[in-house]
């Protein structure tokens, strides 16, 4: 089968007026909910599913996919402007993006995010179209032991997210893993560390944790430093990227796209690793690594590209195996089955309109998001010029409603408050919240894969070294650990000798 012909067929399907219209609607809805803290794509798609019953399957799935990408784009906006990450991928965007905004480069950060996402989305779409079925074998070559080692590697390298002491940030990673333990144990169903609170049986809410430790704690800290706010108001640079910024961002985007495309294929949690995997890479290989932590454009460009590339390639397991990689995909499977279509390896032959139409619409959706988002940058930057005394009650109000609407339960608002206090305390102790959130997300996956690997190997630890993928991950992890700790120890020793 020739890809060009198939893609041409796909574009013919996707470019029909109705499909274009619904792709646009989906992208708009997605952007809107992505911007609002706490309101995610799963809830929105679940709400909109009944509307799709009356539509042809292709149109329905194109709209749902539009919401999914739109939410990714919108989430970066609040991360950059207000230090409010809506999901794990935008936690990384806050690190450099929010700093850029504080330096008066909010426009450039938003533009970088949109352009990097668009470029990565284009490349990843071509990958999905060209070699999706081929890449399935990559997804299937990862066993539980390999996933465990991948997660462990992810946790080790996430310590570099922090600016300060490596030991302290590893401590925060481990604390995040500990928080991730709260809830029902998957293997036995037993409740752990829930103190009999039914709301905790599914674990601590990510939204409450992220919103509290980042968004709300940041409000309190900003109010404490009136001088930082005036900087924000007066310094508004050009909305567009300077030549220098283009030059710095481009290689990062390329690397980020590669990282995201590969990790997105892995259904056992690869996509969650993509954005900060790219951030870690940029901090190690970029020419401007000394600028990280002060608003380096590379730290926005790479992760944003990786995140969007992973969002596209995570469709591969769905399209080729019929297995959803995340909750949004699971809903799409539901929508397809209701339409009488079984996603899976036979979909390419049985439903060529749908399959190639979806792939073409992935790209069209990315174009639309670019078109929607670029003109809005000016508006978003204006938002920052609103005096902070008027802005912070608004953020607080949106966060309160967002936290409540996650489960329609006040419990989530109270947990947000407690995590805000904790985040404030961590800031005073120079403990950074980003590694904690990574640990929180990866920890439960790591435990699951560890226990499954041990169950299948009958308790033989050698399984982690016998499998080549796992062994190489562990080797990289050990090297990274050594590279991080050695300078630190040396510094400590010098300090001890001189002091």
């Amino acid at each position: 089968m020739d890809i060009i012909g198939n893609l041409a067929h796909g574009f013919a399907v996707a470019l029909s007026f109705q499909n274009l219209l619904f792709a646009l609607i989906g992208a708009l809805i997605g952007t809107a909910i992505g911007v609002l803290p706490g309101i995610g794509p799963v809830a929105t798609i679940s709400l909109l599913l009944p509307i799709t019953f009356g539509q042809p399957a292709t149109t329905a799935i194109i709209m749902l996919a539009g919401i999914y990408y739109g939410a990714q784009y919108g989430g970066s906006t609040t991360a950059i402007l207000l230090n409010l990450p809506g999901e794990i991928s935008s936690v990384v965007t806050t690190l450099e993006g929010y700093k850029m905004a504080r330096n008066g480069r909010a426009g450039a950060a938003l533009a970088t995010s949109a352009l990097a996402s668009f470029f990565a989305g284009t490349v990843a779409t071509i990958v999905v179209a060209g070699s999706g079925p081929l890449l399935t074998s990559v997804a299937l070559s990862f066993g539980p032991a390999d996933y465990f080692s991948l997660m462990l590697l992810g946790l080790i390298i996430s310590a570099v997210l922090a600016q300060g002491s490596v030991i302290k940030s590893i401590g925060m990673v481990v604390l995040g893993v500990a928080l991730g333990l709260v809830g029902t144990d998957v293997q036995t169903g037993q409740q752990r560390f829930t103190f009999g609170v039914p709301e905790l049986s599914d674990g601590i809410s990510f939204v409450a944790l992220a919103m509290g430790m980042f968004g709300i704690a940041e409000i309190i800290l900003n109010l404490e430093r009136p001088e930082a706010r005036s900087v924000l108001k007066t310094k508004v640079g050009s909305l567009w990227l300077t030549k220098e910024e283009w030059k710095r961002a481009t290689p990062s985007v390329l690397r980020g796209t590669l990282v995201g495309t590969v990790l997105g294929i892995l259904p056992g949690g690869g996509a969650a690793l993509s954005s900060f995997g790219s951030y870690m890479m940029e901090r190690k290989v970029s020419k401007n690594r000394h600028l990280f932590g002060t608003g380096a454009i590379e730290g926005v460009a790479g992760p944003e590209a990786a995140n969007n590339a992973a969002a596209q390639t995570s469709f591969i397991p769905l399209l080729t195996l019929g297995i959803p990689a995340n909750a949004v995909m699971a809903l799409m499977v539901g929508a397809l089955i209701i339409q009488g279509i079984q996603p899976g390896p036979r979909m390419v032959e049985a439903q060529p309109d749908l399959f190639w139409g979806l792939i073409a619409s992935m790209w069209i959706g990315n174009v639309m998001l670019l078109v929607i988002n670029l003109p809005m940058i000016g508006m978003w930057v204006k938002l920052l010029q609103v005096p902070y005394k008027f802005l912070y009650p608004a953020i607080l109000v949106f966060c309160s409603i967002g936290a409540y609407s996650v489960n329609n339960n006040v419990f989530d608002v109270y947990s947000t408050v407690l995590f805000a206090v904790f985040g404030y305390m961590c800031n005073k102790l120079k403990l950074e919240p980003a590694p904690l959130l990574i640990g929180f997300v990866l920890g439960p996956m790591m435990e699951e894969h560890l226990r499954r690997a041990m169950l299948l190997s009958r308790g033989d630890v050698m399984v982690f070294l016998e499998r080549p993928i796992s062994a190489s991950m562990l080797a990289i992890g050990a090297l990274a650990m050594a590279a991080m700790l050695l300078p630190n120890l040396r510094k400590g020793k010098e300090a001890a000798l001189t002091g």
């Binding site: 404490e224 109000v397 006040v410 109270y414 226990r451």
Partner: protein, 201 residues
């Protein structure tokens, strides 16, 4: 002295949480390496955290000085006072009516009282008002409706900013604007299921 007070506190915090975790984890079956029980992973995690906490603590004696921010006398006394006040309010909440018999409403009242009491000292004032604002939102939302809850949240959060205290009219304008905006976004567009006006249910 080269003591890093921030790292001492960080290390102590990590150790404290790890020790608590290990203590709570006694309830969980460890299982074997082959079929790990619910307690196996927590045990590993908390031991690693304990070790890291100790390293942070040990290194704190060499990589300072990095003192904590100064606490005034009021800061130091108001913290325990507010915790006691909050706990008392939480404990006696059911006395104030059946609404507070609900676990979370009682908890919310305790947190609100605690955060408001701590505002008495300058050092905690911003933290106190912002957190109290979110607590009053949750307390008022289900019975009082979204509009009342939002108005109260904006009102309390405005206390955190001296400029607002000087010009209450600006706060009123802000409140009206935000109420209208939230109504349009969350009620008109997103249809979230909450009461809008008092005593709607």
């Amino acid at each position: 002295m080269k003591i890093n007070a921030k790292d001492v506190a960080s290390g102590a915090l990590l150790i404290l949480i790890a020790a608590t975790g290990l203590w709570l984890n006694q309830d969980h079956n460890l299982g074997s390496a082959r079929r790990m029980g619910p307690g196996y992973m927590p045990m590993l995690v908390f031991y690693v955290q304990l070790a890291l906490g100790m390293i942070v603590l040990a290194m704190a004696f060499f990589n300072g000085p990095d003192p904590l921010e100064k606490w005034t006398k009021a800061d130091a006394t108001m913290l325990p006072v507010s915790i006691i006040a909050g706990t008392l309010a939480w404990y006696f909440a059911p006395v104030f009516g059946s609404f507070f018999e609900n676990t979370y409403n009682a908890l919310g009242l305790g947190m609100l009282v605690g955060f408001l009491v701590v505002c008495y000292s300058m050092g905690w004032r911003l933290l106190g008002f912002i957190c109290a604002a979110m607590c009053i939102f949750s307390l008022l939302l289900e019975k009082g409706g979204l509009m009342l809850a939002l108005a109260a949240t904006i009102g309390i959060s405005a206390l955190a900013e001296p400029e607002h205290r000087a010009r209450p009219l600006g706060v009123l304008g802000l409140t009206i604007f935000l109420l209208a905006m939230c109504w349009w976004i969350f009620i008109k567009q997103l249809d979230i299921r909450v009461a809008v006006w008092p005593l709607q249910y």
